[in-house]
């Protein structure tokens, strides 16, 4: 029995050294060496200023910007080094079948129609009125981006073709044409529109 106890304890210690310590440090070392950008959060940095991560969504509400998924913003969980509140977001976890949810979507539809008068009563792509799985979805579908092209062009005083060029530059297709869905990176489109990133 004493031997079994020693074996169990020793085995746990060895496993912690191998799978916890050595393995984690090895992957961190290799990752930081080979892929420093990805390993540190795929941050977009231009001329010494950061503009977010290309992987995490930000909320846009100005008419001149492309809008993303509905965000459930949280400013209470994170602070920066100076104790200032910092933005994060979570999913809604709401059932899409309740009457309350129906009322919520109706409000979102009304707000989007008011903000995009050029689109009249055209059906709104579903990703524009829903919260994402992470709460931080960086993307929107090409159809949802197209829905906003006229508004962005009008707000910026540029042509819809120029807006579409920015959208196209930030669009990725399915993997091998099959897996996942085509998508537009909202932050990238807005950085291109602002002239911060090249289109």
């Amino acid at each position: 029995m004493k031997k079994t106890l020693l074996h169990a304890g020793g085995m746990l210690v060895l496993m912690m050294v191998l799978c916890g310590f050595a393995y984690t440090l090895l992957i961190t070392g290799v990752g930081q060496l080979l892929f420093p950008r990805q390993a540190n959060g795929s941050v977009i940095e231009v001329d010494g200023r950061t503009y977010g991560s290309e992987l995490l969504g930000q909320e846009f509400t100005g008419p001149e910007y492309l809008w993303g998924r509905i965000m459930n913003i949280d400013v209470d969980s994170f602070t920066d080094g100076n104790g200032e509140r910092v933005m994060y977001a979570w999913p809604s976890n709401l059932s899409p079948a309740s009457p309350e949810y129906g009322a919520l979507v109706a409000e979102r539809v009304a707000a989007l129609r008011a903000a995009n008068p050029a689109m009249g009563g055209a059906p709104i792509p579903v990703d524009l009125v829903t919260c994402s799985g992470s709460g931080l979805d960086p993307d929107i579908s090409p159809a949802a981006a197209e829905y906003q092209a006229a508004r962005i062009a009008a707000a910026r005083g540029i042509t819809e073709t120029e807006v579409r060029a920015a959208i196209d530059a930030a669009t990725s297709g399915r993997l091998l044409g099959v897996f996942g869905e085509p998508r537009v990176n909202v932050l990238k489109v807005n950085l291109i529109l602002d002239g911060i990133l090249e289109g």
């Binding site: 799978c19 961190t28 977010g52 995490l56 913003i73 809604s92 059932s95 059906p123 709460g135």
Partner: protein, 607 residues
């Protein structure tokens, strides 16, 4: 059309990779030479030498079970202490304090039992030390433990008039060194390259392109004018006194890729971050998703084939595989069709476009990521609850009523549709014995499996294997539903609220770990009761399976005769599926009809 192609290819890729891996695992666990042996055998021997273990030891089922339980007990205690004390331990750049006793209990149990239920959200609760030395280690060893016990049971089925079923230590070391470690090394480095962070520096902040204003309570002030220079916020011309301007976003950075790999490979499922593989940092693209999603079911599927190779009768393994696969495809079909169809509340009489089209995923996108859409999200939901993985790439709480019932049911069936690594298959062996027994009663013959007579002792254990999950789920969710305070924890009202309770106990009772995550489970009662359910469902079946292994090993083999029930033909596969479904349906139909089915009828009535 594309959706069908995605469903089909995901399944084909999975099976195509699982067959060779199944052969590899069978050989590696049997101590035979595999192509990685020159590299890995020295590492394996290090363990035996350091601990003075004889790799050839042949343990009886009692000693095997004692070793497994002791190892898990130590694992639990160490993890519990790490979580409680992380505030004063090193490797804590996030500066988090220790967890409460009940959250630490729940989390430690959850990872030791291969459930990986997350009451916590990692990015706001856990240090690098807790993640890497605590959770990642259990991601490896809890999976290896399942594989070890499965191979002990297989030896029991194969051996004749023998006392031993192998050595737990040898099985554990081989499962880690030959199966989990190589797979995770390759996958985690690939994931870093594809965008998953791997950093020890702790979280950082980046600037927002469009800053926004919040009031003192943290709610966004809609329509506010922001003057960054003077740090003032005006609304309709008036300055808002207590407003704050938010200019930065948090980036939760961890040694992340190195935990995502074993999380997926070992049917663990506990993410570094709260939203798991829906979070763009854990799963940034369709390619990382393909890797993670295949990995999720790869070892459980491969083990069906390993089973066939190890008992030297491939047809037996294929029969088990087919029964599981047919169940998986059926359930996936139901979930997918429901999610593609969305709900009347989303469609708004046509004001919202929920029909898939060019550049448009359509369907129920609440809780789903744009890059994954409906097909990839539904496939993951079915995979992760078929396997007792529990990682998610979309929020199951926001599935349609029947779409969300599918993952719930897959867990309620006892996690035997592939299930957890190792434990899914030994759970299924329980159902196989039950099927053989019932079929034997119908034709009036002594039931036997693989040439071994099934007697009362094995049947008692098989029933324990089959009923542990229903007991844990129904007792747990029943008790929770009776407690008035549980209602405060819910995120949705009415029938969907009951679904949240049911789902979360099904997750604990199936050692799955996915959640209807709107329910806040960080209360002493919920943390403790969910933890107890996980413990019961992990270790009662584990010991029952070892008892079966031990008593089968001691039996002699009887020659197959003309009246022997074949356990590898279509009829048997059909019977097995039927028994699994009947036990599940009889146990859960009343509860389901008050939860998801009631919500569905309400929804349809509104439509």
């Amino acid at each position: 059309m594309n959706a069908y192609l995605q469903y089909g290819l995901y399944l084909v890729i999975l099976v195509a990779l699982a067959i060779p891996l199944g052969r590899y695992i069978s050989r590696a666990m049997g101590g035979e030479t595999v192509f990685l042996s020159p590299l890995l055998r020295p590492l394996e021997r290090c363990f035996y030498r350091a601990l003075h273990i004889s790799p050839e030891e042949d343990m009886g089922w009692k000693k095997y079970a004692a070793c497994a339980l002791l190892f898990n007990l130590f694992g639990f205690v160490v993890l519990f202490l790490i979580l409680m004390l992380q505030g004063v331990l090193p490797w804590n750049p996030q500066g988090f304090g220790g967890l409460s006793w009940h959250l630490a209990f729940n989390t430690a149990v959850s990872f030791v039992t291969n459930t990986n239920w997350q009451t916590y959200s990692g990015e706001v609760a856990l240090s690098n030390l807790s993640q890497a030395m605590g959770l990642t280690v259990q991601n490896f060893v809890s999976a290896a433990c399942g594989i070890a016990v499965l191979f002990a049971v297989i030896r029991g089925l194969m051996r004749v008039k023998s006392k031993g079923i192998g050595s737990f230590w040898t099985d554990l070391v081989r499962a880690v060194v030959y199966v989990m470690l190589p797979l995770c090394l390759v996958v985690s480095i690939a994931l870093v390259g594809l965008g998953v962070p791997q950093s020890l520096g702790g979280s950082r902040t980046v600037d927002l392109l469009e800053p926004f204003a919040v009031d003192a309570g943290g709610s966004r002030i809609v329509g506010a004018e922001i003057d960054l220079e003077h740090n003032t916020v005006t609304l309709d011309g008036a300055v808002v006194a207590d407003a704050q301007i938010i200019t930065k976003q948090a980036l939760p950075l961890y040694p992340q890729a190195s935990q995502v790999a074993p999380k997926q490979a070992g049917t663990n499922g506990g993410g570094i971050l709260g939203t798991n593989s829906a979070h763009p940092f854990e799963n940034p693209s369709p390619l990382t998703n393909l890797i993670e999603m295949i990995l999720l079911l790869l070892i459980p599927v491969a083990l069906c084939f390993s089973f066939g190779f190890s008992i030297k009768d491939k047809r037996q393994g294929i029969a088990v595989f087919l029964a599981m696969f047919i169940l998986l495809v059926g359930f996936l079909g139901v979930a997918a069709s429901q999610e593609h169809a969305a709900t009347p509340q989303l469609a708004q009489n046509g004001a919202v476009d929920v029909i898939a089209g060019d550049g448009m995923p359509g369907g129920n996108m609440e809780g789903k990521e744009t890059r994954f859409g409906i097909a990839t999200s539904s496939t993951w939901a079915a995979f992760t609850t078929a396997a007792s993985n529990g990682s998610v790439n979309s929020m199951h709480d926001s599935y349609t009523p029947l779409g969300g019932m599918v993952p719930m049911l897959l867990m309620m069936l006892g996690e035997v549709v592939f299930g957890g690594v190792g434990c899914g298959l030994y759970g299924m062996i329980g159902f196989i014995l039950l099927t053989v027994f019932i079929a034997g009663l119908m034709v009036g013959r002594t039931p036997e499996y693989l040439g071994k007579k099934i007697e009362p002792r094995e049947m008692r254990m098989a029933v324990l294997l089959c009923l542990a999950t229903p007991i844990a789920i129904l007792v747990g969710s029943g008790a929770a539903a009776l407690l008035p305070s549980t209602a405060d924890a819910l995120n949705n009202a009415g029938a969907h609220g009951l679904s949240e309770i049911l789902y979360n106990y099904a997750s604990a009772g199936g050692n799955n770990g996915s959640a209807f995550a709107g329910m806040g489970c960080d209360t002493p009662f919920l943390n403790t009761s969910l933890g107890l359910a996980m413990l019961f469902v992990r270790f009662v079946p584990m010991v029952a399976a070892l008892v079966i292994g031990g008593s089968m090993a001691a039996k002699k083999r009887v020659a197959a005769g003309a009246g022997t029930l074949s356990t590898c033909n279509a009829m048997f596969v059909f019977l097995l599926i039927l028994i699994v479904l009947i036990v599940g349906a009889l146990s859960f139909f009343p509860a389901l009809s008050l939860g998801p089915i009631a919500e569905f009828t309400q929804m349809a009535g509104l439509g």
